[in-house]
Amino acid sequence: MHMQIQPILAALKHHKLATVLIAMEIALACAVLCNACLLITNRLSAMHINSGVDESSLGFIALQGFDPAAARDLDARVAAGLAGIPGVESVHLINSVPFGMQAGAFGITLDQAGKQFRGVPEIYLGDPGTPQALGLKLVAGRMPEAGDYQPIAQGYLPASSNVLVTRALAGHLWPGENPLGKQFWTGENQFRVIGVVAHLAVPQYDEEGERGAEWTVFVPALPPASLLAGTFLIRAHPQDLDRVMVAAKAAIARIAPDAVLDHEWSDTLPALRTKFFRTDRAMAGLLVGVIVALLGVTAFGIVGLASFWVAQRRKQIGIRRALGATRADILRYFQTENFLIVTFGIVAGVVMAIGINLVLMKFFEVPRLPLWYLPVGVVALWLLGQLAVLAPALRAAAVPPVVATRSV
């Protein structure tokens, strides 16, 4: 570019106020933009949490309001009835599913005396074959076998069980060690790790909570049990799933007229996932709206100021044109000028963006702003500035040289 920056800087000195204002708008836009984008990606990445199960093949049915004493008979009747629906591959008793209702969180310790407290993971209970039906992926050890499924004599859990844990929980409990064969306790209930699965998300993931999204244990159990009654996992081919769930809900009224279907939680897993992330999606949508409005307002502000600017300098432009400057020269002049001003703004904006991020990190659960956001934001604002100044700059380039002689 043969254009010199020196004369532009000299000209800007005469328009300090307008220059500072545009730069300030860009700085504020840059700061808010970077942080709003961070919040959006934060939401979106939370929404992509890996549940570790074959969601598209799974549905969940929850019943309420039956006599606990009759649970065993009811479960058998419902399981048989559901299994008879065409397209159903399997029916299992399970206490909850990812994105389903909160069902069994227990504080655990690494010693029997209960001294080494290590958090409150979620415990999934399921009858024989449940891990296979869920589609859990084993990364070490083995799946529970028939002998691992224990009856629950008292309380909520078997007195002693061979369990599966997630890789995430194993890493939290025994960092850097082989978790297979390790033991932990909740009260007097003892667990021994026989297998590690790649992923299994908790039912209700709470970002603000103290517990990890995948602090989960699968406990093999035999019904009846207070946590394992009236809640069913249905597995079907993904193409059949929606139809099967409609049929299943209809069948419940026939099979178990004395129980009440819990409509909130009885659904396919894809539907439960969608429901679970509704507010996050709404928040992300709102942030996108704010960003669009923000960029629009900033662009219009630049258009407004630059138009005025061009109008104010018509005479000056006319003189330059009369002295031999081409239209392209004038266009490039205004574009370079805008580029310089936007750059001033961006420098201030980057500092503000980091500052705002630090404040957000202090008061809210917001991660550190990744540094690669900054160049992306910078390029976006440069482009925005160039687009916004284009119309006024073209109008400036259209000023005929004769203007120079007219009003002097």
């Binding site: 106020l17 204002l21 309420q64 001294k115 009440v260 819990d262 704010v290 307002v297």
Partner: protein, 442 residues
């Protein structure tokens, strides 16, 4: 000219200038309107979420908090109160209830109760219910349409009586006086003692740590705690902290699952009640039941703050909206400046004809103020649109998002302040214009 005439003249000048600079004016009003719309929408939601559910007596309602954890637990006390709040074991809640050291006291838990109707063909359904003790209604200002609550004697006798909400009475009995009729709840018969007038404190403070919804139309059914527990009601939240849990005998289990609230005659009695609480805990430590001496007694609003009832999302959105408003204001400064500098000649003429700098300054501030009011009107439209969008969101408070009178006034106050602040710099620049050079170049 008198002050009023001058003001009228400035208004006229402003209108003329708006006509001449339609695009610039439209841009300014649009920017301000967007910023104000976003701010008011988020402020209205924040106000809704952080409101006082019982304004007439919230300063006298307290949540006693004690720490039942075993000696082995390493949990820090303050963190525990944040998590469990006024949740207690059955034993402690009953001890505090029967001590009667406050003007009123109530113990409660939430449950989902199965209601079976006699109407043929109607399926049984589940309703949000509160299992509680007799003072609940008078303590929380729930008034009756028909009948009344039950007595402390009914509590101890495990009387099978219930109070139902007006909306449940409408659903079951078509709104007729149903006092004395029998309702089948969880497969047991209860006699209806009273029907409430619409009562739904927002946020629903008594349910936040019991596993209930924070907002919404309220609970349908209120049952005596002792009777419901004897009938094996399934309560929403059970937090256990020691081994040997028998799910069937929660009354003696090392689990917290009921909450306690007290009403004191004066807010200043809190000190005395806290001393009573500390003495109670000291006594329990002496008995070997308790291990931690800490107690807390936040009032209702303090309790809501401790339980972090207002979601971080709402606060973050409000911050973001005001950041956005700031950008809109800076933008308006720029546009106003562009407009006023374009009118240097007009200002020069007016100055030459004898207008003082003050007059020019006032004129431009009047113009800014008008932009502000127009921005406020547009902001109101955007805020209504925003709240309409919020009412269609899945959050449980969504249906309550409306503009009230105070937010309506706030809209114009914010709009005027924003536009006047934005107008200061351009007005100052305008009145600094020297008349002579402008006249020369006409």
């Amino acid at each position: 000219m008198g002050v009023n005439d001058m003001f009228g003249y400035y208004l006229d000048l402003a209108l003329r200038s708006f006509k001449r600079h339609r695009v610039l004016t439209a841009l300014m009003v649009m920017a301000l309107g967007l910023g104000i719309g976003a701010s008011i929408t988020t402020l209205a939601v924040l106000k809704l979420l952080s409101g006082d559910p019982l304004p007439q007596k919230s300063a006298r309602i307290f949540a006693p908090e004690i720490d039942p954890l075993t000696a082995a637990s390493t949990t820090k006390e303050d963190k525990l109160f944040e998590r469990w709040g006024n949740l207690m074991t059955w034993t402690d809640a009953m001890n505090l209830l029967h001590a009667r050291k406050a003007e009123r006291q109530a113990v409660m838990a939430l449950a989902s109760s199965k209601i079976t109707t006699a109407t043929p063909g109607q399926h049984p359904f589940f309703s949000d219910s509160v299992v509680t003790t007799s003072d609940f209604f008078s303590m929380f200002d729930a008034s009756f349409q028909y009948g009344s609550g039950w007595s402390a004697q009914d509590d101890e006798n495990r009387a099978h009586v219930v109070v139902i909400a007006g909306f449940l009475n409408d659903k079951l009995f078509g709104g007729a006086n149903s006092v004395g009729r029998i309702l089948r709840v969880n497969d047991h018969d209860y006699r209806i003692a009273g029907v409430l007038k619409p009562w739904a404190p927002q946020p629903r403070f008594y349910s936040v740590n019991l596993g209930g919804r924070g907002y919404g139309k309220g609970d349908a059914l209120f049952m005596p705690l002792q009777a419901a527990v004897a009938d094996k009601v399934n309560t929403q939240t059970v937090n256990c902290f020691d081994s040997g849990i028998d799910a069937d005998h929660l009354e003696t289990a090392p689990c917290v699952w009921v909450s306690t609230w007290v009403e004191l005659a004066n807010a200043s009695d809190a000190g005395a009640y806290k001393t009573f609480l500390s003495n109670y805990v000291a006594q329990q430590i002496a008995l070997g039941r308790f291990h931690h001496p800490g107690v807390a007694l936040p009032d209702l609003m303090g309790f809501l703050a401790q339980q972090r009832v207002v979601p971080d999302d709402a606060r973050m959105q409000t911050n973001l909206a005001f950041g956005f408003l700031l950008i809109c204001v800076v933008n308006t400064v720029g546009l106003l400046l562009a407009k006023c500098l374009r009118r240097s000649r007009e200002i020069g003429v007016r100055r030459a004809l004898g207008a003082t700098r003050g007059a020019i300054f006032t004129q431009f501030m009047v113009e800014s103020g008008m932009v502000g009011i127009a921005g406020g009107v547009l902001g109101l439209v955007f805020a209504e649109l925003g709240l309409w969008a919020i009412r269609h969101q899945p959050a449980e408070y969504a249906s309550l998002a409306h503009l009230d009178v105070s937010m309506f006034i706030a809209t114009f106050v914010i709009a005027l302040i924003a536009s006047l602040v934005a107008g200061l710099l351009p007005a100052w620049r305008a009145c600094a214009v020297a008349p002579a050079p402008q006249l020369k170049s006409v």
